[in-house]
Amino acid sequence: MQQIINFVIRYKNFLLYLFLLMVSLGFTIQSHSYHQSRFFNSSSWVTGNIYAASHSISSYFKLSEENKRLVDENEHLRKLLFNGVPRDSVLIDSTWLIHTVTAGRVINNSYSRPRNYITINKGAQDSVKPDMGVITAEGILGIVENTSGKYATVQSILNERSNINAKIKNTNHFGSLVWDTKRYNVVQLVDIPRLVPLTIGDTIVTGAMSSIFPENIPIGTIQKFDLDHSQSFYRIDVSLFNDMTNIKNVYIVNNMDRREILELETETLNEQ
């Protein structure tokens, strides 16, 4: 016993180091296999408020540029309005709506790591919940991962764990949108079968399979495509419409039918 105590006292620094290292590796590995850690994320109260304070200062520097973007978007929407709208977007009865939209602002953004997250200033109090889609006027941005009262973290499409259903515009050939962590303006679309005719410059949009994003949200254009090692699927480099380094105003999209779709799908799976 005496010896054990002596041992502990002699190596207390080493043991402390080992313990703290294990703790941090534990957190890291646990979130490698599952989700972003529940506790360590920038949507928490302290970090959210610090980011919001810094954002309230820095947002002034880009006001004119941001105004121009919003005006451009309004112009686009008005054009749609004047030229005959698709029927379902003029419905007034809110129970008929499938998608609701909340506007938010980015208060922290990263794009240089293998796993990038974006913090936005809308949270549970604005009924933002995990697994809602986040888009900008130009294209998709990511999926809400964690929320606190006033803030939420968004798993960016520039994240090695991001996996979004996407298709080639005006066809129904769909694949998965992933990121190889190399460049912040290029993501990859995989699992498109070889027989699909592709052209450089084709537009990629979100597919209908995902219950997170509405169909036909723009993503980017084809920059380059190759067959993957199985020689039967394409691996397509998609250059993004969004400038991921410069994002301010975002929209959080909620699919009202998502619960129903998921329930139905799990029920079907369980019956098999």
Binding site: N13, L20, V23, L25, S37, S42, S44, N108, T119
Partner: protein
């Protein structure tokens, strides 16, 4: 002594804020975000209790992790350099550090730079190994360690000459 605690507390807070609000957003060449908070470990008094030092470094890393959504990678790498700091010091300064009168500010410029560089290299190696988490990407890890490490070194040197350690 009291003064010492005060300075280190202020340093702890300021370095976190500077790191997350300024340097995490730098994105020089798209990926270079220098890590200046390592200066806390460079400046920390040598004769303090080691256990306290390791604990503080862990907290510092964890605080950075909270802000940058990186699980606990910063904490793991910071606690590692905190643990091996005495070994690095013995390597750089030789027997000098055994003397009661030893001060960081008394050592030569070359020694200070080597000390800082070694801290940064070890920290970045651990950090990017954990972040990328696959040995298939050794080249990416080395590239990042070299590029970001040299950026961190330059900035840390600038900071340390701006706020030079006087009588501690």
């Amino acid at each position: 002594m009291n003064n010492n605690y005060f300075i280190n507390t202020i340093r702890f807070g300021l370095l976190i804020l500077v790191q997350v609000l300024v340097f995490n957003r730098l994105n020089f060449f798209g990926f270079i975000n220098p890590m200046v908070y390592i200066l806390f470990l460079y400046w920390f008094p040598i004769k303090e209790n080691r256990a306290v030092f390791i604990g503080l470094s862990f907290l510092l890393g964890l605080a950075i992790d909270f802000f940058s959504d990186t699980m606990a990678i910063h904490a793991a790498s910071t606690v590692t350099i905190a643990y091996i700091r005495p070994a690095i010091m013995r390597f750089v300064f030789g027997v000098n550090i055994e003397f009661q009168s030893f001060r960081l500010s008394n050592s030569t410029r070359a020694q200070q730079i080597t000390f800082l560089a070694l801290l940064i290299v070890v920290h970045h190696l651990v950090y990017f190994t954990l972040e990328i988490f696959s040995l298939a990407n050794v080249l990416v890890i080395i590239k990042k360690v070299l590029a970001i490490g040299s950026a961190s070194l330059v900035l840390c040197l600038l900071f340390s000459s701006l706020f030079s350690v006087r009588k501690e």
